[in-house]
């Protein structure tokens, strides 16, 4: 920083031209595969993951049609097993986690007032790796080698003895791909939020959505290694006869459950916490007032992050654990209700003291309150061991986790999509269709999943492909199927809304909702460089607290991709940091990674063969000419 008088302001048109020359992606197909623009990559991520949401939803519909009446012959047991496994795996690994991260990858850099994520090429690599893993799972399913051991692939069922063939191996490698992608995105989000915040955005002014993404990213950092290790060990058991999970040679199937759920339970919060961030953003904007209890909300997010790691054993109450362990995990499972409750009360207080505007994003948030509270209550019920033993592996559990996952995450996500769609595309989604979308989804959802509580209490086990008429489960199952069809119609309404609004939607302008966070300070959709001028943040609600003539940062070079790094706590300007431009190497490295993992399904030499490609791609990446190195940069 200097005490010199500020240079004469550059005309905005000139500034736009200079910045766009430095930041825009190359054109055409080459540009499409080499871009490192976080907005393009995140948009691609959102579209891809949403496509997998539709595919996973179609599988759910097939399951509901099969279960609509007793002894239905629509699909046989083998196909049904593949369907529920691929449905669960798709929704967890190819939709819920990546779409939340994608929203973060799009919004976090804009919200903290910078121009791109901290490692743009790594970001591109993450997307390509995710895509290869996703195509592997669905390619396998289409070719009738879809995994069939359930989305948590319990050993010994998933081991070499009971699951010969390559179905489970495809599942295990899909895990590795998607978890690498998730970890990459987590590193991006933390580094960007810690180092690239606009000056003035000290930790007590970070938007709640960014806080939520940071907590999520830390949970990913500590949870995903468990499932990568476990799926790697499972693949080794199947490929080279190790005995990690083989009791005949001293291995232990329960070891799998511990490792899987050490990941699997935090996973629930990895999906849920970003949604809480979206709820906070939407509640603030649509109640037109500063959110109530910002410190309590931040601390609740962090507390949820910690407690989320102390719950995994409650998935294993039926395995005969020591009683002391059961007590501990029951207590921890109930404790998680405390931060969740604190947040709900803070949101209610905000609504209470605000002037709520019932637009579609806010409707989805209200839908979230209703459904998530029900899911949370059944969660407290099944935290108790005796009750859990009663309903273990029944449809009660299916009902519970769909209430928390759809209620807790998909409702806020749709709210978020309606809320940020104008920022992504420059056009608003239609409100009337939005209301139809919400009410159909809300009614369909409750009609589908509420009866499952009752079915579970009546003893209907999950993962059965059919049942006998004498059980009396037919009518409630039919109701659930009708609900599923209504949900499908709701999704069709959403797709129609998107298709129509992309062409004919009302022009949004920079800030159609009168919101408080920085992504609304730039144009919709944002230009290649994000913000024309890096803002100086003057308060917690950046756009509500800034001067009429807002202060900005000057002095970043515009002839290359330069961003400002600030200090981690106080966000004071620290140094300038040059980011790389478009490159084909991330795709090359992702393909090399793909060769490694896919050949490893068939031979242990895959690691060596693929390792050579990976090594070459890493070298290519490292020695790539650096278009961003300006003259005089050499230190």
């Amino acid at each position: 920083m200097s005490a010199h008088p500020a240079p004469a302001p550059v005309p905005r048109a000139t500034l736009h031209e200079e910045l766009d020359r430095a930041w825009r992606s190359p054109r055409g197909f080459v540009g499409w595969v080499t871009t490192v623009d976080h907005k393009k990559i995140a948009t691609r991520y959102i579209v891809t993951t949403f496509a997998f949401f539709l595919l996973g939803g179609l599988l759910a519909l097939v399951m509901r049609l099969q279960l609509a009446r007793p002894e239905s012959g629509l699909v046989g047991p083998d196909v049904y097993d593949q369907i529920f496994t691929v449905h669960g795996s798709t929704m967890m690994f190819l939709f819920a986690v990546p779409i939340m991260e994608a929203m973060g990858l799009y919004l976090v850099p804009l919200m903290v007032g910078t121009r791109n994520v901290a490692f743009p090429r790594l970001n591109a690599y993450g997307y390509w790796t995710f895509l290869i893993g996703a195509l592997l799972l669905w390619g396998g399913f289409v070719l009738n080698v879809g995994p069939d051991a359930g989305w948590f692939a319990y050993t010994p069922l998933s081991g070499p003895q009971y699951s010969p063939g390559k179905r489970v191996d495809i599942w295990a490698q899909m895990i590795t791909f998607t978890e690498i992608a998730a970890l990459v995105a987590a590193i991006e989000i933390i580094a960007t939020a810690f180092k690239q915040r606009a000056p003035g955005m000290s930790v007590n002014r970070i938007p709640l959505f960014v806080w939520a993404m940071v907590v999520t990213a830390f949970m990913i950092i500590f949870a995903m290694p468990a499932v990568m290790l476990a799926s790697g060990m499972l693949a080794l058991d199947r490929l080279v006869d190790t005995h990690y999970f083989n009791p005949a040679e001293g291995g232990d199937p329960l070891l799998w459950q511990h490792l899987f759920w050490f990941f699997g339970h935090p996973e629930v919060y990895i999906i849920f916490i970003p949604a809480q961030g979206m709820v906070s953003a939407i509640v603030t904007t649509f109640c037109r007032r500063p959110i109530f209890g910002y410190p309590a909300l931040v601390l609740s997010l962090i507390a949820t992050g910690f407690i989320g790691f102390g719950l995994w054993v409650h998935h294993m109450f039926a395995t005969g654990l020591p009683q002391l362990g059961e007590h501990f995990f029951t207590a921890a499972s109930m404790m998680i209700a405390i931060p969740s409750g604190v947040q709900i009360f803070c949101w209610i207080a905000t609504i209470w003291g605000g002037r709520p505007r019932f637009a579609t994003p806010f409707l989805f948030v209200l839908g979230f309150f209703a459904t998530f509270v029900i899911g949370g209550l059944t969660g407290v019920m099944i935290a108790a061991v005796p009750f859990d033993l009663q309903v273990h592996d029944t449809f009660f559990i299916v009902a519970h986790f769909h209430y928390v996952l759809l209620g807790g995450s998909v409702f806020p996500l749709f709210g978020g999509l309606y809320y940020w769609f104008p920022k992504f595309t420059g056009r608003l989604l239609d409100e009337r269709l939005g209301r139809w979308n919400f009410w159909l989804f809300f009614v369909g959802f409750n009609l589908t999943f509420f009866p499952m509580h009752l079915l579970g209490l009546h003893g209907m086990p999950r993962r059965v492909y059919t049942y006998l008429p004498e059980t009396g489960w037919g009518p409630l199952n039919l109701v659930a199927t009708v609900g599923a069809v209504i949900m499908a119609v709701a999704i069709l309404v959403f797709l129609a809304n998107v298709a129509a609004s992309l062409r004919h939607g009302a022009i949004a302008g920079d800030d159609p909702w009168g919101a408080d966070t920085l992504e609304w300070a730039t144009t919709s959709p944002p230009p290649s460089y994000g913000h024309m001028e890096i803002p100086v943040v003057q308060g917690r609600f950046a756009l509500w607290t800034r001067d009429p003539v807002p202060p900005v940062v000057t002095g970043l070079d515009t002839d290359r991709r330069e961003v400002l790094c600030t200090t981690t706590f106080d966000a004071e300007p620290d140094h300038r940091y040059a980011l790389p431009g478009a490159s084909g190497w991330p795709l090359m490295l992702a393909v090399s990674t793909g060769i490694t993992f896919i050949t490893s399904i068939f031979t242990p030499w895959g690691a060596v063969i693929g390792g050579v490609f990976v090594g070459l791609a890493v070298c290519g990446w490292f020695f790539d000419e650096r278009p961003w190195r300006g003259p005089g940069e050499v230190a």
């Binding site: 001293g250 807002p550 940069e633």
Partner: protein, 201 residues
């Protein structure tokens, strides 16, 4: 929209070292990821111990200490040149840094050679029993890190020979040291576990 120039950053440095650098944070997070993996593998080893009456299982001898002990001593000693390298990274000359990178790379290669003798020292195959599987998992995971890190050092050293050093690559050298500390720091407890676990557990 009119704006007001409030902060001029044109004279700020082009590079920040230590926790000021985004790369430092990324390296720290990678260490957290892989440290978690090693921690869980250790936990799995101890968990599986509970399934056996004897450790190592009857018929498997305890591991020979020679190669492993030599290697752990080498790795601990390697921290000294690495600290030197880390301190020099922000300001050292290209010649100095190249020299210390060559030293570090040679240490990495030596550690890999010694590691090749460690696998047979356990007298157990990965497919013999659960004990053997876990030993190979931990040894294999750590060796994978050692290979990756040594490969990275070879590439970085090669770079120093052919290209002029800039600020960005000085940070690369600095975070490379951090990664090496992690590899040494995890191996000391893992060595203790693998070589003395069978003797005392």
């Amino acid at each position: 929209m009119r704006t007001r120039a409030a902060i001029d950053v044109s004279e700020l440095p082009l590079v920040g070292f230590g926790h000021r650098a985004p790369q430092w944070w990324a390296q720290l997070l990678i260490v957290a990821i892989e440290g978690t993996m090693f921690g869980l593998a250790t936990w799995a080893y101890l968990y599986m111990r509970l399934d056996f009456a004897h450790w190592p299982p009857a018929g498997t001898p305890v591991p020979d200490l020679g190669a492993g002990t030599a290697n752990v001593l080498l790795l601990v000693a390697s921290v000294v040149p690495m600290v030197r390298l880390q301190r020099l990274a922000p300001r050292g000359s290209q010649a100095e840094l190249t020299f210390w990178m060559v030293v570090s790379t040679l240490i990495g290669v030596a550690a890999l050679v010694l590691r090749a003798f460690e696998f047979p020292a356990f007298h157990v195959r990965w497919d013999t029993n659960g004990y053997g599987s876990l030993v190979w998992l931990i040894l294999g995971l750590h060796t994978f890190h050692l290979i990756a890190e040594t490969g990275e050092e070879i590439v970085l050293t090669g770079y120093l020979f052919v290209k002029p050093l800039d600020g960005k690559h000085r940070i690369d050298l600095e975070v490379n040291s951090l990664y090496w500390y992690f590899i040494v720091g995890t191996w000391v407890p893992l060595y203790t576990l693998l070589y003395f676990g069978p003797r005392i557990l």
